[in-house]
């Protein structure tokens, strides 16, 4: 005899299962993208959301039209850099990424970005530089008032030099056998540049400069310094002017004063010009004539400025943070500030590293 109860049960279970599948879950994952392969190109370091996210890397190959976003995570599934990726440096074999709020340096393979190891416990690490395959230079803010500078020997894993109690060491430069470290003051205020030996890190001098020095730039022959000026967060009337300075035989001289908040000094040798960001403008200082002019960067929220090769020629790379809560953009400009290309980056792109 046909069992209607069982028939109902079977139908019910089948229908329930079908509905369950159809109902589904709202999960949606993006499709996996292509793997990252590094050759010549530009690596963009993105800070990520402040305090609640991770920094990322965006890779723009020399001959590629489309950037590879989240390049580090693609190469290392489930692994992330950490909060506020600040800057990067590279030698023959490795890429070093300074992760500020995570207080560590992540070291990845230069060829495929696979995670190699980390250098932990560098509080508020800021900028890096490498010399050959064995030396790594590191500036860090510490507690924001008392940071430091370290010269690490990558072969032995030890510090050749460690200089502590430095107020806000910023983007330093290697120039003619020495390291010039601008001391911005961090959360406070300072106006000095620390000079060390590039070989053993021994301190040779401390030189007074303008208010809040933030970047030293070596063109090979000359050394320049950008000072942003003192900035008072709660009382802007106490702000001071910035300055563009040059190291001469008898010390630092001021080439020109700059508006408060000027930042991100870079250089295009073919144009013999220094470039920086001031508000929403691109500042151009002609080193031969001393002429200073500004070009508006319309429609951008310029956050950082660097120079690197684009289609084999040095160009300006401006990062656009947009609204600091969404993916940013990278704009490639020529020596006259004209837009040549644009690429999507991660959240708050803050550093551009050209890789040869």
């Amino acid at each position: 005899m046909y069992n209607t109860t069982n028939a109902w049960k079977s139908k019910y279970l089948f229908l329930a299962g079908l509905l369950f599948i159809l109902f589904g879950f709202a999960a949606c994952e993006k499709e996996a993208r292509t793997e990252t392969g590094l050759g010549k190109g530009v690596m963009v370091v993105n800070e990520g959301p402040f305090m609640t996210g991770t920094g990322t890397l965006t890779w723009i190959g020399e001959n590629e039209e489309t950037p590879v976003t989240d390049a580090f995570e693609r190469a290392n599934p489930g692994v992330f850099l950490g909060n506020i990726a600040q800057s990067a440096a590279a030698n023959t074999n490795h890429l070093f990424i300074a992760v500020n709020n995570a207080s560590r340096i992540v070291v990845a393979s230069r060829t495929d970005l696979r995670f190699a190891y980390e250098i932990p416990n560098i509080p508020q690490v800021r900028y890096l530089a490498v010399a050959g395959d064995s030396l790594l230079y590191v500036s860090y803010w510490g507690d924001g008032f008392s940071g430091g500078f370290r010269l690490m020997d990558m072969k032995t894993g030890t510090d050749r030099t460690r200089v502590d109690a430095l107020p806000g060491p910023e983007e330093f430069a290697l120039h003619k056998g020495k390291v010039y470290v601008p001391l911005s003051g961090g959360f406070g205020h300072d106006s000095r540049v620390l000079v060390l030996s590039a070989l053993d890190g021994s301190v040779s001098d401390t030189l007074p400069v303008g208010d809040r020095p933030t970047k030293c730039l070596s063109t090979g022959e000359e050394l320049y310094l950008l000072c942003s000026g003192k900035f008072d967060f709660s009382d802007p009337s106490k702000n001071t002017e910035g300055a563009l300075m040059k190291l001469e035989e008898n010390g630092w001289t001021t080439l020109t004063s700059l508006p408060n908040g000027a930042k991100c000094l870079t250089w295009l040798p073919a144009a013999a010009a220094l470039y920086f960001i001031s508000g929403n403008q691109l500042g151009i200082y002609q080193t031969t004539s001393g002429q200073l002019r500004y070009i508006p960067l319309e429609g951008l929220t310029p956050y950082a400025l660097y120079s690197a090769k684009w289609k084999g020629i040095e160009h300006l790379w401006v990062t656009d943070a947009v609204d600091f809560a969404s993916r940013g953009m990278i704009r490639v400009l020529n020596a006259e500030g004209q837009l040549m290309a644009g690429y999507e980056a991660g959240i708050v792109p803050s550093y551009v590293l050209g890789l040869e």
Partner: protein
């Protein structure tokens, strides 16, 4: 009979997978263990709260509602509630009618409120009519309460919780004295972000010590009624770093004193009510210190007017804030005047209208808000419709945060339409099948959103318009049988909250995108079996859809699937009533986050022993 039952089961199963919603407000059917659902109230009959995922307090109870998203950075840590597209700073937390939202940032930490003490309702009829929905907490007064209650709970990640309550009665006076203390060292595991191949790494996480003490009193005579509530809270919590940073653990200390009273005198044709309140909150998160004092006074006259009931209400409240963020103590006073009329057309149909104006330092003039409400309660069908406007003032942070505050902000203005429909398809002694559907829409003009301004500072701005649509569907099936009862409830929540018009270029990336941390889909599914012999079991599945973490919706947290299982045994020895529970939270040992890079616990166990006399 069996054929009929299977047919009904099949039908219920179809509906079970199609619909799920939690009917809110007057006909709330959110399912919680030991709930007595009564007029939008989620009431616990015992002190024990089924803490889910290691969280304690009100947040864990609310989390089971499919329309609620709890934003919690760490178990026992700061927990704020988001309801149906309303961000936490838009959701009032009302303690006996007093809005606890901090004047500084507009949120309130639910972890600072004791579990098991209050009726919890997602109340539409808040006593703060400028909001359209809030979390409403009121003291429970059971008809025949036990005189003494003690509860002890221990969890697998080092959580110990002890509660005690004394209830008494003397003539017309009822009182409850309660206290609880909790210590936790939540050593649970999460994925180490920089060790490929190592799935989990155990790291110390949040540590906390929280204590509550309180007194509730109620007295009434033929014409007078008086009630008083006091609550003191002290909390010490260690906040761990996120998965992506390396700051050393920070410590947050909170103390809170809350007091309110309410006196009503009934005359022949009208009644007078007066409610004062004082609340003082101190929050220390070195080097910041915030202290908020609230003085509150509400006067009300109500009486028959025509064939309805009219209420005129005036509220004055003063907030004083002393904070390291502000150079001077900030004080703001606001007056709220409300006229309310309730008309019972017939025993099934009730209509209500309200007109209100708030005089606030940044809005001193006359800009009234209103609502109209209709409620139909039939034998098997109930419906509820409310349309109105609401206005939310900017917080002190929005206006005056050093270097970033925007004193030109205007209040958010909302036009909303809320509705609920509930039908008992089957309502017999053996079986009850209830369906609920609740659509709603809100258009929020001048939505306050923090955006980056010059020099990389952030600044709040008004976004021209944000549109919020939401739907809730639920099915609840109850089956009584000789030995007990089983219940199954499925509730599905959908919300779309998007900016659809902006003023400034800096806001354009939010255009057409879902607001951050607003999951579009949430689903709750629970099956409960209770036997008259004192055994019961409960299985709950909670799904939370992906949540965007960036304004352009390019990044998100993946969906979360959580399964909880609980067993309970009740028995009596003499006059003592005992209750033991064993529970597993996150049975599937899922790795998940409510806030990006703030990991939540994996599988955990807890046991509770409760004694009442």
């Amino acid at each position: 009979m069996q054929r009929w039952f299977f047919r009904m089961t099949a039908t219920a199963g179809l509906l079970f997978y199609f619909f799920a919603s939690v009917a809110q407000q007057q006909t709330d059917t959110v399912w919680l263990k030991e709930l007595v659902v009564k007029d939008a109230l989620l009431r616990r009959d015992s002190l024990t709260d089924p803490w889910a995922g290691g969280m304690t307090g009100i947040a864990s109870a609310l989390q089971r509602n499919s329309a609620v998203y709890i934003r919690s950075a760490v178990p026992g840590g700061l927990s704020t509630v988001s309801v149906r597209g309303q961000a936490p700073h838009q959701v009032p937390v009302l303690w006996h009618g007093i809005n606890l939202q901090y004047a500084m940032n507009g949120v309130y930490d639910l972890a600072l409120l004791p579990a098991g003490q209050y009726d919890i309702a997602l109340s539409e009829e808040s006593l703060l009519p400028d909001a359209y929905r809030g979390v409403s907490l009121n003291t429970v007064w059971p008809v025949q309460p036990p005189r003494l209650q003690m509860v002890y709970r221990v969890a697998s990640f080092g959580d110990h919780h002890l509660q005690g309550r004394v209830r008494g009665r003397y003539r017309n006076l009822r009182y409850t004295l309660f206290g609880n203390g909790q210590t936790a060292r939540n050593n649970f595991t999460y994925i180490n972000p920089l060790v490929p191949g190592q799935a989990r790494l155990e790291l110390p996480n949040a540590a906390l010590r929280i204590g509550h003490g309180g007194l509730d009193m109620q007295w009434h005579s033929e014409r007078d009624s008086f009630e008083m509530h006091g609550l003191y809270t002290a909390a010490w919590r260690q906040i761990p770093p996120t998965m992506t940073e390396s700051h050393s653990d920070a410590v947050q200390q909170d103390t809170s004193l809350k007091w309110t009273a309410r006196y009503t005198r009934v005359f022949r044709r009208f009644a007078l009510t007066w409610q004062p309140a004082y609340i003082r909150d101190v929050n220390q998160f070195a080097p910041d210190l915030h202290q908020t004092e609230l003085l509150f006074s509400q006067s009300q006259i109500s009486g028959m007017l025509g064939s309805g009931w009219a209420i005129a209400r005036h509220t004055i409240q003063q907030e004083k804030v002393l904070s390291t963020a502000f150079p001077d103590r900030v004080r703001q006073i606001q007056h709220i005047a409300q006229l309310l009329y309730q008309w019972e057309v017939n025993p099934s149909l009730r209509v209500e209208g309200s007109l209100q104006n708030t005089w606030h330092p940044i809005q001193p003039g006359l800009q009234p808000t209103f609502y109209l409400l209709g409620n139909y309660t039939g034998k098997r069908f109930r419906s509820h419709l409310k349309i109105g406007t609401a206005r939310r003032m900017p917080t002190l942070n929005d206006l005056f945060w050093p270097g970033s505050g925007n004193p030109d902000l205007v209040p958010e203005h909302t036009l909303y339409a809320l509705s609920a429909f509930q039908a008992d398809i089957v309502d017999s002694r053996q079986v009850r099948l209830r369906l609920s559907w609740e659509p709603e829409v809100k258009s929020i003009d001048q939505y306050i959103l923090w955006v980056p301004a010059d020099n990389q500072r952030w600044k709040p701005e008004n976004v021209k318009s944000v549109l919020v649509w939401s739907q809730d569907l639920s099915v609840r099936l109850t089956r009584n049988f000789v030995r007990g009862q089983w219940n199954a409830i499925s509730s599905l929540h959908w919300v779309r909250a998007r900016a659809n018009a902006v003023y400034h270029n800096s806001q354009r990336t939010a255009l057409g995108k879902q607001l951050a941390y607003m999951p579009e889909w949430q689903w709750r599914q629970a099956v409960d079996l209770s036997l008259h012999s004192g055994w019961s079991a409960r299985l709950q599945y909670a799904f939370t859809g992906l949540r965007f973490t960036t304004r352009d919706n390019a990044q998100w947290l993946p969906p979360v699937h959580l399964v909880d299982l609980e067993f309970e045994r009740r028995f009596n020895i003499g006059e003592s009533r005992w209750r033991m529970t064993m529970a597993v939270q996150n049975l599937l040992n899922q790795s998940y986050q409510w806030i990006a890079f703030r990991p939540m616990p994996g599988r955990s166990f807890d046991a509770t022993l409760s004694w009442s006399w």
